[in-house]
Amino acid sequence: MSASILKVLSPNAEIRDDGCLYAEYVDEKCIVETNSTTTNTTTTGQHSVRVDRRKCELRTDLRVPKVGLMLVGWGGNNGSTLTASLIANRRGLSWQTRRGVQHANYFGSVMLSSTVKLGIDEKSGEDVYVPIKDLLPMIDPNELVIGGWDISSLDLAAAMQRAQVLEPDLQRQVTPLKNA
């Protein structure tokens, strides 16, 4: 389960007894009033701009729930590949490919493999990047329970074969395995 690595030092944010993070936030929008004339090629006009400020309170529940994912079309290419991927990552599997050994990872996932710039380092002034998944406590995909429906009765091992997506050695390894 990933826990947050951040401590927010701000008078506008606090974690309360209910396990939620409360943050005061001012939402600003630029509201434009336009007196325009339109020709064939362009619209020109007088734009008057004012700022609309709205105070909001954002509440983020920091308690990570136990989540199940039900897929409609679980036995399709996406469903079977996702199911095998979760099993492979949960178990830390490695498999042979014609180019060598491949280790399970979540490369290709926005939430799990990308980073955001948090700020600049206090001492060095260098950019500090953190994984998106570490900004807040988030569901760990390895903890997801998967289920769902399909118009085809094939079990997920047979569905994975039918999909022809994954390397044979990986298919062989995950076939007898089940998710938690």
Partner: protein, 223 residues
């Protein structure tokens, strides 16, 4: 994986390609949409209880359906939509049925295919129940590239006048999209992607002027 077996699903023939009939051997066959809805809801509740879950999320990753016709009195409001289910109306798609079942069980529903699952009656139901819905087509290839490239060009003051994107389809997804009305759903979803950028720049594009946009599908990957 061998021990994981999908639950029987609903199958309303008219909504997906006829070529899918060969694999349709695991069906909920009540003949009544009211009963179908009850079964789907029960499936979600059972799953939640069996695994002692705090939350269930439902994700549509099944075949692209043809678009549902928007009919006043049928799918325009939640009340009408639920009544249409009771009356076994033809124009309610499987994906809309799953969305309704999810929302009634407070399970967020995410759509991964380009059909119009979220008819106005579904959107209203989501707002009424305070449950999230979201999603259109899964976008991981040509559509993402297209959005990024057109955004870059228009943002840099360059004017794309024609866009042709190649959709390399595979396997069963490609087979289902071979049928014109299912492909139309895909085509509509993929073409809409550049609209925002075009509309943002009135120097390059006159009102209602758009790039000539064609989506070509390569079906040779189907085995």
């Amino acid at each position: 994986m061998k021990k994981l077996k999908p639950l029987p699903s609903i199958y309303y023939k008219d909504f997906i390609a006829a070529n899918q009939e060969d694999r349709a051997d695991n069906l909920i066959n009540t003949g009544s949409k009211r009963k179908d809805l009850e079964l789907l809801r029960a499936d979600i509740r059972t799953f939640k209880r069996t695994h002692a879950l705090d939350k269930v999320i439902v994700l549509w990753t099944a075949n692209t359906e043809r678009f549902s016709e928007l009919i006043a009195g049928v799918n325009d409001t939640t009340a009408n939509l639920l009544r249409a289910v009771e009356n076994n109306h033809d124009e309610i798609s499987p994906s809309t049925m799953f969305a309704i079942a999810s929302l009634l069980e407070d399970a967020p529903f995410v759509n991964g295919s380009p059909q119009n699952t979220f008819v106005p009656g579904v959107v209203e139901l989501a707002m009424q129940r305070g449950v999230y819905i979201g999603g259109d087509d899964f976008k991981s290839g040509q559509t993402k590239m297209k959005s990024v490239l057109v955004d870059f060009m228009v943002g840099a003051g360059m004017k794309p006048i024609a866009i042709t994107s190649y959709n390399h389809l595979g396997n069963n997804d490609g087979l289902n999209l071979n049928a014109p009305s299912q492909f139309r759903s895909k085509e509509i979803s993929k073409r809409n992607v550049v609209d925002d950028m075009v509309e943002s720049n009135s120097i390059l594009y006159a009102k209602d002027e758009k790039p000539d946009h064609v989506v070509v599908s390569d079906l040779t990957c189907i085995n």
